[in-house]
């Protein structure tokens, strides 16, 4: 990676919504007093009559979206991931997913990179608890380009979706205009032969950095970006495992039940090889800058290179 261009993932979410709102008149947006942070403010500015603030009431936001979806609207509900997935979990389970209503939950501020707000605001379990619900699709895009493509797909797809979007400005990995999101396919970002590393969200760029570092040391890493955690593209991952014989997962999430859990389930069932889950080790986060925390929890390219090197030996 030579010149790194960074772009706000959540900013792109808000702008994409505002763009889609021009042609899709059924899109409505519900926020919980955080439109300036989730960036749904862009939609609000463009279509005030289709923007609803639920106030600080996440449960009401989700079930209100259920009601709106019954009238043919395509509701996007946004707030911080910890509240969207946690506070409103049962509304999402019983209200949205059981009847398979067309409600989209796009949660920003996921993972450790929430930073200074600390552990209360750092969702490290959201993928696990969303993934456990039948009928739910769970997506963790890697950069602003992918956020845009994912949101475009989500608006067309009929059914419940949970998308987690980072707070951070993320390096652009996918060139704008060239990337097409395929919900059924994980992306092999770099081919390799010594180990398969499956990742998504904001750790994809870190794993790519790690692979670059290791390449210079003669270690060949296959990087698989799996934005869709559910339904997971097991084929691509298992095929890669067959080639390398070793798997690691990396995510800005707890090592319990997230991408790591999903990959273990797939690999275990189809081609059992050792899988090492790298993420937040069953603990809460803390206050710090996003960079400090990524380094402390071992999720930067440099730290990951070290860790992966140990797995290959």
């Amino acid at each position: 990676m030579t010149e790194v261009i960074k772009k706000s993932a959540r900013g792109e979410y808000g702008l994409t919504l505002a763009d889609l709102g021009k042609t899709n008149k059924d899109i409505v947006v519900i926020d919980c007093d955080l439109s300036g942070s989730t960036m749904t403010k862009h939609f609000k500015a463009a279509f005030p009559e289709r923007f609803f603030n639920a106030g600080i009431a996440e449960q009401d936001a989700v079930t209100m979206a259920v009601g709106l979806s019954t009238t043919g609207k395509v509701p996007f509900v946004s707030t911080f991931a910890v509240f969207a997935s946690g506070r409103a979990w049962e509304q999402i389970r019983n209200g949205v997913c059981y009847p398979k209503f067309n409600v989209k939950v796009v949660a920003t501020h996921c993972g450790i990179t929430v930073g200074e707000d600390g552990a209360s605001h750092q969702a490290l379990e959201d993928v696990a608890i969303m993934r456990a619900i039948p009928n739910m699709t769970v997506i963790a895009p890697a950069d602003a380009t992918e956020v845009r493509e994912v949101i475009k797909w989500v608006a067309e797809y009929k059914g419940p979706v949970y998308v987690r979007v980072s707070r951070a400005n993320l390096p652009v990995i996918f060139p704008e205009g060239e990337y097409k999101f395929n919900p059924n396919k994980a992306v092999v970002m770099k081919e390799g032969k010594d180990i398969t590393v499956v990742t998504n969200g904001e750790t994809t760029c870190e794993v790519l950095k790690a692979a670059e570092i290791l390449e210079k040391e003669g270690i060949s890493v296959e990087v698989v970006h799996a934005p869709v955690v559910k339904p997971l593209d097991a084929t691509t991952i298992v095929d890669s495992a067959k080639k390398t014989g070793k798997v690691a997962t990396v995510e800005n999430h707890s090592v319990i039940g997230g991408l790591g859990g999903a990959v273990c389930e797939a690999v275990c069932a189809e081609y059992p090889v050792k899988v090492t889950r790298i993420g937040i080790n069953d603990q809460f986060g803390q206050t710090g800058t996003a960079n400090e925390l990524m380094a402390y929890y071992g999720l930067t390219g440099e730290k990951l290179a070290e860790k992966i090197k140990g797995l290959v030996k």
Partner: protein, 279 residues
């Protein structure tokens, strides 16, 4: 001028409600599970709503005017026997199917499931969600400039759920005058009297404080139910809530005002007695 029911109509509704009470008891007896108390307390309200107030289409999405129907949300989803009995009466499905209630493979699930039964707008059963869902429906209908109304029936114990009050705030904030909430105020919940378990107090005053029109009635007075529902439809700027004071287990002497009959099925003897009383 609000419409009023004729004496004949009132008698007809009473006859239908009595039949539905008998069906509710039969269904729960046959399933050997279910919630008789809160089904019997709500059935007069549902009978008036479905036979005289709501614009509804038993042929469901086959009807060309389907999109303009009024909506009903059974927020107290455990009263499933009540909603199934009125839907069958209205012709949504054959009355004979009522005995499938709570059996394996049935469209008549323990709590209403909208993907299995036409006539059910949304799946409910988890208390506290229905009013908020109804708010979303009412908002969506307003966006589409439809004059359809949304009715949501809540239990009084359900008012203990905080999410009800999030929705109460929402409905007043968005001036959802097309939303009519109904509280089946039977004063009992599983563990006993609502005021002992977690006092509801003056439910009407609470909704009024949240910015709602409040109408308090005897929830078994057919004329009063009808007038309250019709009045609710006329609101111009606020949501309306009807506090319907009811008797849990109404119509079956040994079930009346007994918390124990919240979620219990009658045995053969009790069924026979109940049906005798409901003749």
């Amino acid at each position: 001028m609000l419409k009023v029911l004729s004496k004949e109509e009132i008698e007809e509704i009473k006859t239908v409600a009595k039949k539905l009470r008998a069906n509710i008891v039969r269904m729960i007896h046959n399933a050997q599970s279910g919630h008789p108390g809160g089904s019997l307390s709500a059935i007069d309200i549902l009978t008036v709503l479905y036979t005289k107030v709501m614009k509804q289409y038993p042929d469901w999405d086959k009807n060309p005017d389907f999109e303009n129907r009024d909506r009903f949300v059974l927020s107290k989803g455990h009263a499933s026997a009540a909603i199934y009995s009125i839907l069958a009466h209205c012709g949504y499905f054959p009355e004979a199917d009522l005995l499938e209630y709570r059996k394996f493979g049935t469209k008549l699930q323990g709590h209403p499931c909208c993907t299995k039964l036409k006539g059910i707008e949304v799946s409910t059963g988890s208390l506290g969600q229905g009013l908020s869902i109804a708010c979303g429906m009412a908002l969506g209908l307003k966006l589409d400039k439809k004059d359809s109304k949304v009715f949501a029936l809540m239990g009084d114990g359900e008012l203990q759920e905080g999410s009800i009050w999030e929705a109460a705030m929402n409905a007043a904030h968005y001036k959802l005058n097309n939303l009519i909430g109904i509280v089946d105020r039977n004063r009992l919940q599983i563990d006993g009297n609502t005021e002992d378990v977690m006092a509801i107090g003056d439910a009407g005053a609470k909704f009024a404080a949240f910015g709602w029109n409040v109408i308090e009635i005897d929830g078994h007075d057919i004329e009063a139910i009808y007038e309250a529902l019709e009045k609710g439809k006329e609101s111009t700027d606020k949501p309306t809530v009807i506090i319907a004071n009811t008797v849990k287990g109404k119509g079956v002497s040994f079930m009346e005002n007994q918390a124990g009959w919240h979620g219990k099925a009658p045995n053969d003897e009790q069924l026979a007695q109940a049906l005798e009383e409901l003749k």
